[in-house]
Structure formats: structure tokens, C-alpha cells
């Protein structure tokens, strides 16, 4: 016997260590090997939480993941983690935990007043009170605010998560989930057969039920058997053992999602807090054991009422006696071992068995250990406040009155066991109800996934181990390895069958808690059934049973049993719900892994990135690319800088990094034919040494992308796409060649990263290029508009085309990526000498608006060639993708929104992209069009914009309309003009 709650001997804790920890401001100590729950119980703390809806006092009810009550917030500040389960949390020095979901304190919680109104808060309360006929959505929106404040368990930290997480991909022949006798034997046999095995165990110790088993297995004491097997596994080179690792999901192709928690003692040396494992296994064995079910009686949620196996775990594994006078109520044989261990430890044990008869073995066990055994009895009600102090008992038949009251400080209950088959259920495998065992047993999977041990409904440890060996041998054989063949034991193993308990007719159903975590009572289930929610999926959604963090691990079968009783149908007929991932809560951080902050997405850098960034350019993320936004001179704002860059480009010369444009090499005898099929205009007949602007459509006739294609030789084109659509176009071209036109002898290859690209634009472009690029005559005659030539820079060949996006005399120069920085440096120095500069994205966008070129905002996936004013580009002599469907009547309607130019009526006024074009007085509707792009135009001295309006220029040219911007609170009268604001004749670019 012990002093205090910790027994003086026994358990698997290290008594030489002392860990200090803190719960709700109260300092305590524990030992290495303790869970937070065992340490709390050892310190006499049972009441640790408040329930979800009624804020009733709740205590620790289990010793593992099935815990429904004892959720706390771990850690402080940014490191805090709500809804942590005390039974699965490994104790370590310095651990801090706080009670949650209570105010101002755990002991004095004002919200406990909800218990007074419990009768009003039954199933369907929210739906009936706040929704439905006669209740407008505004009512719900009003109440929702208050309901959300009251709802929810725990509060997430407001600060960014400072912890690190990792993702690991792993492959193996066999993944074994669980390390009880079945899992250990499965892993051992598979490894000995030569399979590559991963053994995942949720606990911080291997062994599962063996950690608390004081009996024998394979004629050996369980502890000795366990030590022997662990010794073998630890020596095996074929097994990777993952402790503290929860398998939370099974997915297609035998892919498993696991989360590994860091050993808290090694926090200083392991950088990650959690690791997300994606395991691709050839086969999976689920050895996740079974979960004990609670019993249903009035007040069954009081602190001090625990699962019988949990009481046994605290006693045998952690040397904690949570009480002195124990009433143990059971419906099956499994609780007798716990009763025996408790009695041997010197505790007073009254064993209430609902069955009229049990085997001689169990009788002897009770007699030999001094247990007060009462057969045919059941608990009717538990009494107490913040802790149970007595139970009323009566006949287990449910008929007749209360026959006695037993004082106690712990009530241990066992209502049977449910095999843990959530993972199998996630794969869509339906379980079958076994009336004899009163349990759902796993169905047969079509995938290579097997259940063994208690997860298959096998109760005896010997049989569990044997099932692990047998299934592992079969798995090895399926993978071409040999292993000793064994028989698979049948489910079950109790000497006396379990007895399903019927509720006594005189019980207060409102005090019988079926789902402890969500405060769903037997009365709620009765009400749901009476209102027609008979199917378990409907019952779940109506009552929220099984919807909280514990996913109904302990409540599902008791609820179905109740439903069965109410509906006079068997549990098997009613069936059960399908479990979905995750089996246990997974932190978002673990799923994100290392892909956060600066590593959220990879960054693409142009070959010119470093030389541009070093020159002081402000860089901007555009998609994955980092691009120069503007190049400020001292003290300049972005607006000042880009307007200056535009002026310098228009007056002298400007350089722009265009390396990010998509670039595709189109090669082969049929390259021209291929381009003819994908562009609306012709390319096959284009001469070598020339380039052409092209537009490609989607199959539905909507514009997909635009760009230029250069004919480098008879059989080779160099295609450019917009930066944003580069990958999409490349994938589209590959798809067409592989599936639509495999007969074409064409090769397409992305060469975006091969080339550095520089646009040299402005009236003095022709002056600076010859200084560095040799071998070319830049005169208008020798190098006309849209011509393609090859030059040389520092002995390196480069490609040039006379192409303009700005409306200026302009050239695009492409050179091998590694030579780009040197070319940029040389051209920029030369540009400076000629009064020019580099310009960034802001100026690039503004220059093209002045010229009336369409860009991303106009190519928005809704516009047609005609909408963009490019209808005349479409060839009438050849077929091309999108040509048929672009001629649909709706796409050819004259009143479609068409591209127009916009200028403010009052020159000094501005307007914004996104504004609605509407007639005055009709700003509240959808309008007649919208504004896509705007800029201040230094050339024109006022703001200009592009947009779309129904009927386009034909209907609106010269008329005024309102650019309404209700979100930003501004409306501007604008005049509709042609979209080409600057040099519509093209004099400058042909100069």
C-alpha cells in the first residue's frame, strides 16, 4: 500500500528523476515515464476540465487517446497548444498546462449556469431557435456572434507559431500501426522475412496493452515477453521504429499520414516540434488495439469515473492509485484483471458485474483477492459534485428499484470494447456488428490492409500475438518472402459472453452523458430519434454526437446501442458512421511542414536578378518570380520613379528585364503547321528571320495567351508567352502533341531559363545597341520592324528581334543566361550615357497602357478576340483551336463588353482599376462595363485607362460615363476613347 496517490513501488516510471510541472498555476512534480495525466493523478488532481456545453466538472476518464474530458492548453504564449489531451502528453521538466473553456477559473466557472438551462439546450436547439421559417438570416447573423463566442474548445495562440515542423516521405514494404503484442509480432515476423518495416506507435513507449499487463503471454510474464521482443526489434536492421507517432489517415494507394511528436526531453537538440510522415507502404497492418467503452447511468460524467482499463494502467504502468475505495462496474471479463491488481495493491474493490453468472475462474479470482463481487447488478446513478462520492446500484435487468448505495472515490467502468478500426473505415471498409462480442469487427479490405489483435476483435494477448504473426507471414508471402505460417485466431476470447446493458426505465436521461466531449445525453438521442433522425449519420449531425476532437471514440457504440433500444432494431441493422481523416487532431503546422514564411513557395529569379537588385531596384513578387518594380533615385516614391522611367524611355531609351517571359523552342518539320493550328493567325508562311505577334485561344473560343514567335530557321521557331501563362501554354502544347496530333513531327521544349532577355526601347535604342552588339546593321532597312537577327556580344551569340510592347522603337535581346548580367551592365551604362535608364514593372505596365496593348488584366479568361479588338487577326484560310466555338452567337453579340480607352472628363481627376462603368444614377448595379488598367500618362499629362463596356467603341466613342468605385468611395466621370492613346499610327515604333 502507498502513502498519497503514488504507490511506493511498481510502475515503469524512473523514480530517480524529478520533473517539475505546473497545472493551472499549481506547481507539482512527477517522474520520467509519467504522462501528464498520471502525474496529475499522482498529485491528487482529478478535476481538470469543464464540459463543452453545460460546463460541468470533468475529470480524467482514460489513459490514452480515447480521452473525452481532459483537454487542456499546453505551453505559454505563442507556444501554447489548446485541446491537448492530458492522457497522451508525455511529462517533462518545465511543462505548463492550463485548464481551458472556463472563466474566471476551473473551480468557479460562470458559464456553469448553463446547467440550469439544460432543458432548453437539447438537440436541435440552434436550428429550432435561430433558423427556419419566420426567422430571417439577419436574426442568425445577430445571434451567431454570441454563439461563436460561447462555442469552441480552447483558444489558439494569436501570435505566429514559432515552432518548426518537418515533412518526411518514407517508403516501406510493411507499415505496422501499433505496438501491442500483435503489432510487435507482426513487425518481428515481417522483418525476419526480409521486409522493410516501419513500426509506428502513438505512445512514447512500445508495448501497447502489455505495458499494463500483469498476466502472461506465450507462457511468459508479459513484462518479460515485452522486453524480449523489444530487444529483438531494436537489433533488427529492417525495422524503423517511430515512437510518439500517430497514424491519422489512410489514403489511396496504401499511403498513410502520420504525425511524430518530438521527445520533449530532447527539445534542445531536435529542431522540429512535429514531423508529418507521408508513408507509402506496399502493405499495412493495423494493430491499433481496442478502446474500452463507458457505461451509461445518471451522472456518469462526474470526475472520478474512469474506464476500468485506465485505472489498471495508472496502477500498473505509473504506480498511481487514483482512489482508495473503488467500485468497478463491468459487463465483461476484461475488468477482472484490473480488479485483481487493485485488490492486490491493497485497495478496497467492489466489483459489480451486470451478468448473472461468470466462470469459475473469475469467481475464484474474486474470492482469492478479497473482491466484493456482486453479480446481476448495475450502477443506476453516480453521486457527487466535483468528484464522485457514491453510486446507487440496482438490478442489471433495468427493472426494479435501487437496491443499495456504495460509497467510493473512484468508479471504474467497462461497457465492452470497440476495435480501433477508424483507419480502415477511412478506406470505405464497412465493419460488421458482432452480436456475441457486442462490437463492430473490421470488414475485409480490397486493398492490402489487414487488422490484427484487438483491432480485429481478438481479446486474449496470446491470440493477439498469434494473429500478428499469422497476418505478417501472409503479408510476407504476398510480397514474395517466406515466413512461418500460423493460424489466425478467431475474434473473442472471454469465458463468459459480454452482456449488453439496458437502461433502467426510471433513469433521468438528461443526466446520462453518451458523448462526454460534446455533452450529448441519452435524452438528446431519444429526442433525435423521436424527431426522425434515426440513421446514425443524421443523428450525428443533429446532435453533434461524435463530432468533437475525440471523434466519438467512446460514444459511437453506446449511442448506437441506445438508438437500437429506442428503435427496436439491432445495432447491426442501424450500422455505424464512416470515419474520416484525421483519426486524431493534427496541428496545421505539421501539415505545412517547412513550407512557411520565406519557404512558403520557391522563388524564381531571373538571370539578371542579382545585378538588378544590387543596383537598388525595388523587387516585387509576381507569381513565383521576383521582378524589378521600379528603380528609385534618391528620395523618389514609386510614382515619381515610374513616371520618370517612362519619360526617360519615351525621350531617350529604357531597359527592361524580360527574361521572365515564357520561352518555348518549337522544332521540327511540322513546326510551322503546328503554330498555324494553335495561333489564330498564320505562321507557317512567315519568312525565316521574321517574328509575328500571335494570339492563341482556348477550345471554347476565349483568348488564352498572346506573344511573339520568331522563325529562326526553316524548322525552328522561338515562341514567347506571357510570364504568367508560360507553364500553362507549355503544358497545353505538350498535351496537343501527345494526344491530339501525335503525327506531327514537332518537339516543344521550355527554354525560359536558357535565356536572359532585355528589352531596349526608346528613340535612342538604335544608338546604344551597336556599341556592344556586333555583326549587325541596325538601320531600318536592314533590321526592319518584326525582323529577327543574330548578333554577338563579347563573342557570345545573341538573338534580337525588333519588337515593341511600349510603342517605341524597340528591340528584344536574348543571350545565354549566364551572359545576361554582363550584357545588362554594358547596356545600362550605355543607356545612362544617352539619358536613358532601366525601368521596372510599374513603368512597363504604364507604357503598354499608353500604347493600348492588352495585358493580364484584359486577358482575364472571359474575353474574345473581338472583345479585345483583335478580331481581324483571325485567319479565314486555316483551322485553329477555338475557331469554331469563338463563332458562337453569344460570343459574337454586338453588345458584348469590348475594349475601350478611358480618360477623365476633368483632366486632373484620377480613377482606379476595378471601378464599374455605369450610367449616372445606376452605380449600384452590375454596370455596363469595368475598368481593367489605369495609369498616369506623362506623355498626355493626365490619367488614362483601359476597360470594357457593352457595345464597345462603336456605341460609346466620345460619350461620358461614370467610373463608379463604391468600395473606395470615389466616382469619376470618364470619356470613352480609342484604346490607343499614343502614336496610333505607329510612327515611333517604325522609326
Amino acid at each position: 500500500m502507498s502513502t498519497g496517490f503514488r504507490l511506493q513501488q511498481g510502475g515503469r516510471i524512473d523514480r530517480n528523476s524529478e520533473y517539475r510541472f505546473n497545472f493551472d498555476g499549481q506547481a507539482m512534480t512527477g517522474h520520467a515515464g509519467d504522462s501528464l495525466a498520471s502525474a496529475l493523478l499522482a498529485n491528487g488532481i482529478q478535476f481538470v476540465a469543464r464540459s463543452f456545453k453545460y460546463h460541468r466538472p470533468r475529470g480524467i476518464m482514460s489513459a490514452a487517446l480515447e480521452e473525452a474530458n481532459a483537454l487542456v492548453t499546453l505551453g505559454e504564449g505563442a507556444h501554447s497548444l489548446p485541446n491537448s489531451v492530458v492522457t497522451t502528453e508525455e511529462l517533462h521538466d518545465g511543462l505548463t498546462a492550463h485548464a481551458q473553456h472556463c472563466w474566471p477559473s476551473l473551480k468557479v466557472d460562470f458559464a456553469a449556469v448553463n446547467q440550469v438551462f439544460a432543458s432548453l439546450l437539447g438537440a436541435g436547439f440552434y436550428y429550432k431557435t435561430f433558423m427556419g421559417p419566420g426567422r430571417s438570416p439577419k436574426n442568425w447573423l445577430f445571434y451567431e456572434h454570441f454563439i461563436r463566442r460561447a462555442a469552441g474548445l480552447g483558444k489558439a495562440a494569436r501570435e505566429p507559431d514559432p515552432d518548426q515542423y518537418e515533412t518526411v516521405n518514407a517508403f516501406c514494404d510493411l507499415l505496422v500501426i501499433g505496438s501491442g503484442p500483435a503489432g510487435l509480432e507482426a513487425a518481428r515476423i515481417a522483418a525476419e522475412a526480409g521486409l522493410d518495416v516501419i513500426l509506428a506507435e502513438r505512445d512514447f513507449e512500445l508495448g501497447g496493452a502489455l505495458l499494463t499487463n500483469t498476466g502472461t503471454i506465450d507462457q511468459q510474464p508479459a513484462a518479460q515477453w515485452l522486453a524480449s521482443r523489444l530487444g529483438t526489434l531494436n537489433k533488427s536492421a529492417n525495422i524503423r521504429i517511430l515512437k510518439r507517432t500517430t497514424a491519422f489517415g489512410l489514403y489511396d494507394g496504401t499511403v498513410a499520414g502520420l504525425v511524430e511528436r518530438r521527445d520533449p526531453v530532447k527539445a534542445a537538440t531536435i529542431p522540429w516540434r512535429e514531423r508529418f510522415w507521408i508513408v507509402r507502404a506496399k502493405r499495412i497492418i493495423i494493430a491499433a488495439g481496442a478502446m474500452e467503452r463507458p457505461l451509461l447511468f445518471a451522472g456518469n460524467d462526474r470526475p472520478g469515473i474512469m474506464l476500468a482499463s485506465a485505472v489498471g494502467s495508472y496502477l500498473n504502468r505509473w504506480a498511481v492509485a487514483p482512489g482508495r475505495r473503488i467500485v468497478l462496474a463491468t459487463t465483461n471479463d476484461s475488468a477482472y484483471a484490473t480488479a485483481r491488481d487493485l485488490a492486490i495493491a491493497g485497495l478496497s474493490v467492489t466489483l459489480i458485474d451486470s451478468r448473472e453468472r461468470v466462470s469459475e475462474t473469475l469467481h475464484k479470482l474474486a474470492n482469492n483477492t478479497g473482491i466484493d463481487l456482486r453479480l446481476g447488478q448495475a450502477i443506476r446513478a453516480a453521486l457527487g459534485g466535483r468528484h464522485v462520492r457514491a453510486v446507487d446500484i440496482g438490478p442489471a435487468t433495468g427493472q426494479g428499484s435501487i437496491t443499495g448505495r456504495l460509497a467510493c472515490d473512484i468508479v471504474a467502468v467497462s461497457g465492452g470494447w470497440s476495435p480501433t478500426q477508424h483507419l480502415l473505415s477511412q478506406r470505405g471498409v464497412k465493419p460488421s456488428w458482432n452480436q456475441t462480442l457486442q462490437a463492430f469487427l473490421p470488414g475485409r479490405a480490397n486493398e492490402p490492409i489487414d487488422c490484427v489483435g484487438a483491432a480485429a476483435g481478438i481479446w486474449r494477448s496470446d491470440d493477439c500475438a498469434r494473429s500478428g504473426r499469422a497476418i505478417a507471414a501472409a503479408a510476407a508471402a504476398a510480397l514474395g518472402r517466406k515466413a512461418p505460417v500460423d493460424d489466425i485466431p478467431a475474434p473473442g476470447g472471454w469465458e463468459t459472453p459480454i452482456k449488453p446493458v439496458r437502461l433502467a426505465s426510471d433513469l433521468n436521461l438528461k443526466k446520462i452523458f453518451v458523448d462526454l466531449q460534446h455533452d450529448v445525453t441519452a435524452a438528446d438521442i431519444l429526442q433525435a430519434n423521436q424527431e426522425g433522425y434515426e440513421a446514425p449519420e443524421l443523428l450525428k449531425r443533429y446532435t453533434t454526437l461524435g463530432m468533437a476532437a475525440d471523434q466519438g471514440r467512446t460514444s459511437a457504440v453506446p449511442a448506437l446501442a441506445l438508438l437500437s433500444e429506442m428503435a427496436s432494431r439491432s445495432v447491426g441493422e442501424i450500422g455505424t458512421t464512416t470515419f474520416r481523416p484525421p483519426f486524431a487532431p493534427v496541428s496545421i503546422g505539421a501539415l505545412a511542414g517547412a513550407e512557411r514564411d520565406k519557404h512558403l513557395l520557391p522563388i524564381r529569379r531571373s538571370p539578371l536578378h542579382d545585378v538588378i537588385a544590387d543596383s537598388g531596384a525595388h523587387m516585387l513578387e509576381t507569381g513565383l518570380w521576383m521582378r524589378p518594380w521600379y528603380y528609385p533615385q534618391t528620395g523618389e516614391t514609386v510614382d515619381e520613379a515610374y513616371l520618370r522611367e517612362m519619360r526617360q524611355t519615351r525621350d531617350a531609351v529604357g531597359l527592361c528585364d524580360v527574361s521572365t517571359l515564357g520561352k518555348i523552342a518549337v522544332q521540327g518539320p511540322d513546326a510551322g503547321e503546328f503554330l498555324d493550328r494553335i495561333y489564330v493567325n498564320g505562321f507557317k508562311a512567315m519568312k525565316v528571320g521574321m517574328a509575328r505577334y500571335g494570339v492563341m485561344l482556348r477550345e471554347d473560343g476565349i483568348v488564352m495567351d498572346d506573344g511573339t514567335s520568331w522563325r529562326l530557321s526553316e524548322h525552328e521557331y522561338f515562341m514567347t508567352t506571357t510570364t504568367g501563362n508560360a507553364a500553362k501554354v507549355m503544358a497545353w502544347l505538350e498535351d496537343l502533341l501527345e494526344t491530339r496530333w501525335p503525327e506531327l513531327r514537332v518537339s516543344v521544349s521550355s527554354v525560359t531559363d536558357q535565356w536572359a532577355g532585355i528589352s531596349v526601347a526608346g528613340p535612342r535604342a538604335r544608338e546604344i545597341l551597336p556599341a556592344h552588339i556586333g555583326g549587325l546593321d541596325f538601320t531600318n532597312e536592314a533590321f526592319p520592324f518584326m525582323a529577327v537577327r543574330t548578333g554577338v556580344f563579347n563573342g557570345v551569340p545573341c538573338r534580337l528581334a525588333r519588337i515593341s510592347f511600349s510603342g517605341e522603337l524597340a528591340y528584344e535581346v536574348y543571350i545565354g543566361a549566364s551572359h545576361g548580367p554582363a550584357l545588362w551592365h554594358a547596356l545600362r551604362n550605355m543607356a545612362k550615357e544617352h539619358g536613358g535608364c532601366a525601368y521596372g514593372l510599374e513603368a512597363l505596365g504604364a507604357l503598354r497602357i499608353e500604347k493600348g496593348h492588352v495585358g493580364g488584366p484584359e486577358l482575364d479568361g472571359r474575353t474574345t478576340l473581338e472583345d479585345l479588338g483583335l478580331g481581324r487577326m483571325a485567319s479565314t484560310k486555316k483551322a485553329f483551336i477555338g475557331n469554331i466555338l469563338r463563332q458562337r452567337p453569344d460570343l459574337q453579340r454586338a453588345d458584348r463588353a469590348r475594349l475601350v480607352g478611358l480618360v477623365p472628363v476633368t483632366k486632373g481627376e484620377t480613377f482606379k482599376g476595378g471601378a464599374i462603368l455605369a450610367e449616372q444614377g445606376q452605380e449600384d448595379g452590375h454596370g455596363l462595363g469595368w475598368v481593367t488598367s489605369v495609369t498616369e500618362s506623362p506623355s498626355l499629362g493626365h490619367w488614362i485607362g483601359l476597360g470594357f463596356i457593352q457595345g464597345g467603341l462603336d456605341k460609346w466613342q466620345g460619350k461620358t460615363i461614370l467610373a463608379a468605385d463604391p468600395i473606395r468611395g470615389r466616382s469619376t466621370l470618364v470619356k470613352i476613347v480609342a484604346p490607343h492613346f499614343l502614336d496610333p499610327e505607329g510612327t515611333r515604333l517604325h522609326a
Partner: protein, 172 residues
């Protein structure tokens, strides 16, 4: 398998190899067999690699990922490249489009596990095997050398990939 020389070591575990050229040969389906054989002979490879295989060549390696394509990666810029007549296929220089990173084993195996869904175990990914996969969402070409993992990465992503790999290596 080439596994040394010309390596500018930035850290003990990860380095960038420079001074190589990459040439793509794309042959039309009906002429692939003969075209590939002539390329293999011209570059000193003992045979034509099957998809997913790397074969040693005279001054580099011959890689094959795509059924109709061979990549010749040469560790020298000297020498004459094989050519293809247009009736057989086309040739494309990709030398500037990629960066070649090398990561020492066994750290490389851990990096694959952290950043790629590729099975890095020796039987599934032996020396001489080449795979197209993604690491940190970046499309990469990997092959296994005797003591290193070679990563051929698009040039624009190389700095980003290297940063994330080096950070992972630092964290162990």
C-alpha cells in the same frame, strides 16, 4: 560513373558543379532507334539508355527520361556534338537552362525524403537511375552517383532550392 573532379565545394555536403554542357536530342518515333544508336556511338556511350537510366559517355553521361529524348551532359565544352538530320530529329542546347547541384550521400537521401515523394532506397533508386520529380515544388531531374546525388534544377529556381536544402541540412 563520374563522381569527382571540377567540383567547387561550397559546403561539405552540397555543391554546384559548373563547366558542363547539356544537349537535348529529340528523335521522331519512327527513327528513334537508329538516331539514338548513332548518338550513343558518337558520344562514346556503351548503349542507348532506357527511360529512367543514365549511361556513362566518353566525357559525360547520356540520360534518358522521355521515350523520344536523350540528354547528353558533358563535363567539358570541347569536342564536336553529335547532330541529327531533320528527318530523324532535332537538337537543342539547354546548357544555360539548368544548374547542377550535387549532394553527398547519405545526407542526400534525407533531403529526398524531406522534399520529394521519390523512393530513395537503393533498390528503387540505384546508381545509374534517373528520375524526374519535384523538390520543394520545383521540377528537378535526379540521378544517383556512387557517393552523391545529382540534381539538375531549372536555373531560375536554383538559388531558392539550394537555400532550402542547405537549411534542411543545417537542421539535420
Amino acid at each position: 560513373m563520374p563522381d569527382a573532379a571540377q567540383v567547387s565545394t561550397a559546403t561539405p555536403l552540397i555543391s554546384e558543379r559548373t563547366g558542363w554542357t547539356l544537349t537535348q536530342f529529340h528523335a521522331w518515333p519512327e527513327s528513334f532507334t537508329s538516331a539514338a544508336r548513332s548518338i550513343a556511338v558518337a558520344c562514346g556511350a556503351s548503349s542507348v539508355p532506357v527511360p529512367g537510366q543514365v549511361i556513362e559517355a566518353a566525357d559525360g553521361i547520356l540520360l534518358r527520361l522521355h521515350p523520344q529524348r536523350l540528354w547528353l551532359l558533358r563535363y567539358t565544352k570541347a569536342g564536336i556534338l553529335p547532330d541529327l538530320p531533320i528527318g530523324q530529329g532535332v537538337v537543342l542546347d539547354l546548357s544555360q537552362s539548368r544548374c547542377l547541384l550535387r549532394v553527398a550521400m547519405p545526407a542526400a537521401t534525407d533531403l529526398i525524403a524531406k522534399f520529394s515523394g521519390l523512393d530513395p532506397r537503393e533498390p528503387a533508386f540505384p546508381v545509374g537511375a534517373i528520375r524526374l520529380t519535384s523538390m520543394h515544388r520545383i521540377p528537378v531531374t535526379l540521378w544517383r552517383e556512387a557517393h552523391h546525388l545529382a540534381i539538375l534544377c531549372p536555373r531560375s529556381f536554383s538559388k531558392s532550392l539550394r537555400e532550402v536544402l542547405e537549411e534542411a541540412l543545417r537542421h539535420g
